[in-house]
Symmetry: C2
Subunit: 341 residues, 2 copies
DNA sequence: AATAATAATGCAAACGTTTTCATTTTGTGT
DNA sequence: ACACAAAATGAAAACGTTTGCATTATTATT
């Protein structure tokens, strides 16, 4: 006995008394089928419980209806807003998002790209601009529409949307200098295979350099992305009698750790020490003291990236690389203040 | 001129001097092809730049290699750890994850489920147990392997893995009572279409009830999931002369908002007011004061869910519903203390 | 009412794999 | 070397759609 498990397009066609071709058209070019036929098909779909098979559709080389996203990790707030905005905008354009995480391992990233291409994604979103040459050349070879999110750079191999992280670094550095600080320490994450952090650091240092402010190497601290680690790493620096008057953190989470370190040592932020972050994460405005930081508008980055990707996929013209810089903005808040003379 | 864009399995087969069937087997049952043939094929794959087409594979009704995940939102820390763990474990089993977000709209959730089924996902992960009847019955009808994450319940229509949120509520309520508090306020998110919050609240209230502690309705505050809103909502309560001595928050983010509200009103946490959360989010242990809360081990939830789903998909036996409760644990920290007499 | 133009539909050939079954090759024991 | 079993491979028929082209139904024009 030949039992077919689920209804297919032929079952629907039979029930609606049309050909499979018409059913197919009803899904893909509804304007090309008469309203009453459409209704008849609609009814048949419902009564058979038919769910179309995208795999069979994708096989024709056309639309798979999916877009791939490769991120380092989902496990922190950094990317959450970005991804959410990207995903939502994509959804609005009718795509489903395939997500893969590589844990900051760029070899793994390449593998994931291959895997997503196996699924014939119509486009790819990546984070940052640091990728293996293999990754870039695979994208080229398959002519995969792609967009790099998170940081802007005027000279990239693929389209990009993001904040100019170097600019963000400059902005916060200038702010701290403007407040009269000269004894400044940095607490940054490792910049290896992390171009965002690298660019921010570069921006900060360039401004410091221009102002002739030296940052002693022992005041350039390294931490991972965690409140706890940032707190532990910065405590010795802060308990030294000869401590800095301001600290610039690589991002807001690190800044939060630094603030806690200071507070638990009995120091007042900002009167004893100014602390600044980068990122303006959700919550940063509501810390005590509220955090001076650089707003990066990551939701706008995600949304814009999705729009660009959609354009790249659907507009057959304009296949050129697009680069969008999302403006950064200094958020002056309570955690920094003018240096007492 | 017939230009084929990309290499297909036939090109690879020709170059390797084997039949397409053998190439296919080489990918799917490598043990069934001789090592030297395998090597030859491998070489041909590389030199043609062949990337297999999962869509064509999926069409045979077998493996699509994808698993769907439907979450309310990616935009907050609540689900981040969970999803990350789920995704990683899934990856380890060779699946790629399709993610969709519905923004707490259960009608949209149903639509997303349909969309994922169109992509022929082999399994589905959902958040929570509150879903439309349509959603459940569609899962049944298509015999879709599925698992609900986040909260455990002994009586569910699909497999579930999660903390017993009611138990979490009971634990934190008991802790606060044990410290001698009687004047207790609650700050919770809306429980509509949010069974996690509902269960926690129910747990808290049941313990309060048992202890004969009444919570006046005006001490039962409602907030959304944000530090800012929690802070604003709880400020009036805290500035009243006749304020509670302890506050239980629906989750750690809300608790953080409450703490900031108290601190900016000049109140000391915990000596003036105890504040407790639920969730033990990353960072909660490092707040000042560190937050007393209930640890929910969301990474373990995600990982376990992925393992169960994999089993459900691959072990043809044992198609039964599985339910796993991940233990919850009281984390006594600095934000709560015994009521001064 | 007849004809032309247009819209709607159907037919059948793809699309790129996997898999069953048949066939060939390899290995084993004498 | 020989027969036989086991392993490796190939041929061809699926899988469930989409789409170009041919056909038929509808509408507009006179």
């Amino acid at each position: 006995m030949k039992t077919k498990k689920y209804a297919d397009i032929i079952d629907v066609a039979n029930l609606a008394n049309v050909s499979p071709a018409t059913v197919s058209r009803c899904f893909n070019h509804p304007d090309k089928v008469r309203p009453d036929t459409r209704k008849r098909i609609q009814l048949a779909v419902e009564s058979t419980g038919y769910i179309r098979n995208r795999a069979a559709q994708a096989i024709h080389g056309r639309r798979s209806g999916t877009v791939g996203l490769i991120v380092p990790t989902l496990d922190n707030a950094i990317f959450a807003t970005l991804i959410q905005a990207f995903s939502e905008q994509l959804n609005a354009s009718g795509f489903t998002m395939l997500v893969a995480t590589h844990g900051y391992d760029l070899d793994r990233e390449y593998q994931l790209l291959r895997s997503l291409l196996e699924h014939r994604v119509e486009g790819i979103g990546l984070i940052g601009l640091d990728h293996k040459d293999e990754t870039y050349s695979l994208i080229d070879r398959r002519e995969t529409r792609s967009v790099a999110m998170w940081n802007y750079h005027p000279d990239t191999r693929i389209s990009c949307v993001g904040a100019d992280n170097s600019e963000a670094g400059k902005l916060i550095a200038q702010h701290v200098l403007d407040l009269g600080h000269k004894r400044i320490a940095l607490v940054f994450p490792d910049t290896f295979e992390n171009d965002r952090a690298a660019n921010r650091l570069e921006g900060v240092l360039s401004i410091m350099n221009k102002a002739g402010v030296q940052i002693p190497p022992e005041w350039h601290l390294n931490t991972i992305y965690s409140i706890k680690n940032a707190r532990e790493v910065s405590a010795p620096l802060l308990s030294s009698p000869n401590r800095p008057t301001a600290i610039i953190a690589g991002n807001d989470v690190i800044a939060q750790g630094v603030i806690y370190a200071a507070q638990s040592l009995g120091l007042n932020v900002p009167t004893d020490i100014s602390v600044a972050g980068i990122g303006d994460f959700s919550g940063s405005a509501h810390l005590l003291p509220s955090l001076t930081t650089i707003k990066l508008r990551s939701n706008k980055v995600g949304q814009t990236a999705a729009i660009i990707l959609d354009k790249l996929i659907n507009d057959s013209e304009n296949k050129n690389i697009q680069r969008v810089a999302i403006e950064v903005e200094l958020m002056k808040r309570q955690s920094t203040c003018r240096l007492a003379i």
